[in-house]
């Protein structure tokens, strides 16, 4: 007979604890990207003025629509989870996969650093409001990164209710600010006179220059549609889910732009560290300030937590695939987390968070994301050429091919030019980094890669091979 020593046995148990509706999950999916509304986007206003900031936001929405269409087709066909990293392994090859893995790690780690900088800046501002000027931000930046890294190292659990509270506050804060300002809760009225008096302070090139910060509104939205690998959800939910998220963010971004541009002079807004919180300060309402303080804190910390998780998993996967030393592919014996990858990435995040200004860190993150989107363009072309529509079954076929690919490539090229205009040195430095890393992989590391394990899809031989 069974000799059960469990202490948690109960006579009756509910098999399914909670059921979430599609709208619920859609809202939650957007939550992780919401931090883009709280900081970073406003540098686009600094680059080209109020109008340019809004155009950048909408054009970036078009870019992400193309990303969603292309990504959905490949994701619904490459059954192996892992996103663009797995796609690169199957469609292009190990060198591309190595680079895509690095893009992911860098984009997430830089975003984590940007979030920590924002937390430090926010605390400094609040301390200043309380009469304690000159707060040293660095201990708080270090504390935020170390604490979240520790949570990830331990694999600490929280409830869905807890998650919902955090996301809801971040969402509700923006909407409350918008409604409150509309109903006259602000001491300062909305002022859009700069649109007519100074519409494009740097001319049309200002619109181009502001484009790359427009990406910040949506960066990572494609990651919210996750593959339920083993029993997959209907393939069409992938593009629709992502596009619904983009539309939501488009509305939220326009609201954010409307409130912030109306309350804060564009010259200041273009350099602000926490634009939404600053807008709340301008209203003169203490309750709005507290709400936006909490919203900014929750959004940035939740985002940083997700970044540590995702960056360490990507680094871990590269270690397991031997693209990096396999030492990084270790799992903690107790907590079941990629602890070496987590610990290794902490000092990198700290170096950038403590040593670089927010706009540059944001640029590094955007650049890595942009490189990933550029990869998607020729990945899509190779995918369709190697395995035409009638050769393998696809869960979703995106329409108007190759139009979305061409549009995406044009927008990516424009964004590179935008980065070059404002951050040419950073662009060159990052490109050099990836070139040197690629050379190291090609000449040194590739010999350790298990080539037979790279392609596992049951597809026919690609055309032309």
């Amino acid at each position: 007979m069974a000799n059960v020593t469990s202490t948690a046995a109960e006579p009756e148990r509910l098999q399914l604890l909670r059921v979430l509706g599609p709208a619920h999950i859609w809202a939650l999916g957007v939550g992780i990207v919401l931090v883009g509304e709280y900081m970073g986007w406003n540098f686009s206003v600094g680059k080209g003025g109020m109008i340019a900031g809004l155009i950048a936001c909408w054009v970036a929405g078009l870019l992400y629509t193309c990303v969603a269409m292309i990504d959905s087709e490949v994701t619904s066909t490459v059954a192996a989870a892992g996103g663009q990293y797995a796609q690169a392994k199957h469609i292009v090859g190990p060198l591309m996969a190595f680079n895509v893995g690095l893009f992911l790690v860098m984009a997430y780690t830089m975003l984590e650093a940007a979030n920590a900088i924002t937390v430090g800046f926010l605390l400094d501002t609040v301390a200043g409001l309380q009469g304690h000027t000159g707060l040293n931000q660095q201990p708080f930046i270090i504390l935020a990164i170390m604490f979240l890294a520790w949570l990830n190292y331990r694999g600490v659990l929280a409830t869905l209710t807890f998650n919902l509270v955090i996301t809801a506050i971040a969402f509700v804060s923006i909407i409350t600010l918008f409604i409150a300002v509309q109903f006259g809760a602000s001491n300062v009225p909305l002022d859009f006179s700069a649109i007519t008096s100074d519409p494009l302070p740097y001319g049309w090139v200002g619109i181009v220059a502001s484009l790359h910060f427009g990406l910040w509104y949506y960066l990572g939205i494609e990651g919210t549609c996750q593959a339920a690998e083993e029993v997959r959800s209907p393939a069409r939910s992938l593009p629709y889910g992502t596009m619904a998220g983009i539309m939501t963010l488009l509305i939220a971004a326009t609201m954010t732009w409307y409130v912030c541009s109306g309350l804060i002079p564009w010259e200041y807004l273009g350099q602000a560290g926490t634009p939404l919180f600053d807008a709340a300060r301008v209203t003169g309402s203490t309750s709005l300030m507290v709400l936006l303080f909490v919203g900014t804190t929750f959004a940035t910390l939740a985002s940083a937590n997700g970044c540590i998780n995702d960056a360490s998993r990507a680094w871990f996967s590269m270690g397991r695939d031997r693209y990096l030393p396999s030492w990084f592919g270790a799992v903690h014996p107790i907590y079941r987390t990629p602890y070496r990858a987590i610990v290794f990435l902490v000092p990198i995040a700290l170096i950038f968070a403590l040593g670089a200004p927010l706009d540059q860190v944001v640029t590094f993150s955007i650049l890595s994301g942009l490189l990933g989107y550029t990869f998607m363009t020729f990945n899509m072309v190779m995918f369709r050429n190697k395995w035409p529509l009638d050769t393998i079954k696809r869960g979703y076929v995106h329409p108007f091919h190759p139009l979305p690919t061409i549009v995406l490539l044009i927008l990516c090229s424009t964004a590179y030019f935008a980065v070059f205009l404002g951050y040419g040195t950073q662009l060159s430095a990052m490109m050099c980094f990836y070139i040197v890393a690629s050379l190291w992989f090609h000449f040194r590391r590739y010999q350790f890669v298990r080539r037979g394990d790279q392609f596992t899809m049951p597809w026919p031989k690609p055309q032309g091979y």
Binding site: A2, L20, G31, L164
Partner: protein, 232 residues
């Protein structure tokens, strides 16, 4: 002054509430895990449940013919852009080592399956055609006849998308099945691992045990049949 005090009190209370709630919920979740295999315990004789360092239960006992069975749960959060998976791992151990090769297959491999035996096998084998992508490997000792037989079984076994890994070794057999998938909301927002169940159904465990037994029976008669087949 009043604003400063009120704000400080608000921050202190909020942090305290969040901290207390986080610690309590973490403990509750760990406690909840401990009962996951209770329903499956009657499937085995002399069964005993112990707990791993992550508080997931490990059920050990014997099946009808006296062989040792070990049933474990593994929470897998290692793949980006995939929901967390809870794997049910069933291992049947032989009383003595059998004369048979090591062969295994892994469905939808990403390279991040740290719990898999297949990744550590030295020789790559051509997998059977299935709807899912398969990685099939072995120790290089299998004859063509043995590979063919195992491939035929794998083809039917992996038709079920919930089967993740199947392995035959001289010391026993192992099957890994999907037990649950993480809640999307909890994972997407805060990368949390929450599985929407409080007990692994006994039926699921019984199916996994039966599959492990089928794997075991596959190459048992090798000593007699294989030479005749290969001579032919």
């Amino acid at each position: 002054m009043f604003t400063t005090l009120a704000f400080s009190a608000f921050v202190a209370v909020s942090c305290g509430w969040i901290g207390t709630r986080a610690v309590r919920e973490h403990r509750d979740t760990l406690a909840e895990r401990r009962g996951l295999l209770d329903d499956a315990a009657p499937l085995l004789q002399n069964s005993k449940i112990t707990f791993g360092p992550d508080q997931f239960p490990i059920l050990v006992g014997q099946i009808g013919d006296g062989r040792r069975a070990k049933i474990e749960l593994i929470a897998d959060t290692m793949v980006t852009r995939r929901l967390p998976q809870l794997w049910l791992r069933v291992t049947l151990s032989e009383a003595r080592e059998r004369k048979r090769p090591t062969i295994g297959a892994l469905a939808r491999p990403t390279g991040a399956e740290y719990y898999s035996l297949v990744h550590d096998m030295p020789e790559w084998l051509s997998p059977p055609q299935t709807d899912a992508s398969l990685l099939m490997r072995g120790d290089g000792q299998a004859t063509a006849w043995q590979v063919e037989r195992v491939s035929a079984l794998f083809r039917s076994l992996f038709a079920d998308p919930k089967v993740k890994e199947a392995v035959i070794t001289p010391r026993g057999t192992r099957i890994i099945r999907q037990a649950a998938q993480g809640e999307p909301g909890a994972h997407k927002v805060l990368r949390q691992v929450r599985f929407p169940l409080t007990a692994i159904p006994a039926d699921m465990v019984a199916v996994a045990i039966a599959e492990a037994e089928t794997l075991n029976a596959l190459l048992i008669e090798d000593d007699i049949v294989a030479p005749v087949y290969e001579a032919a």
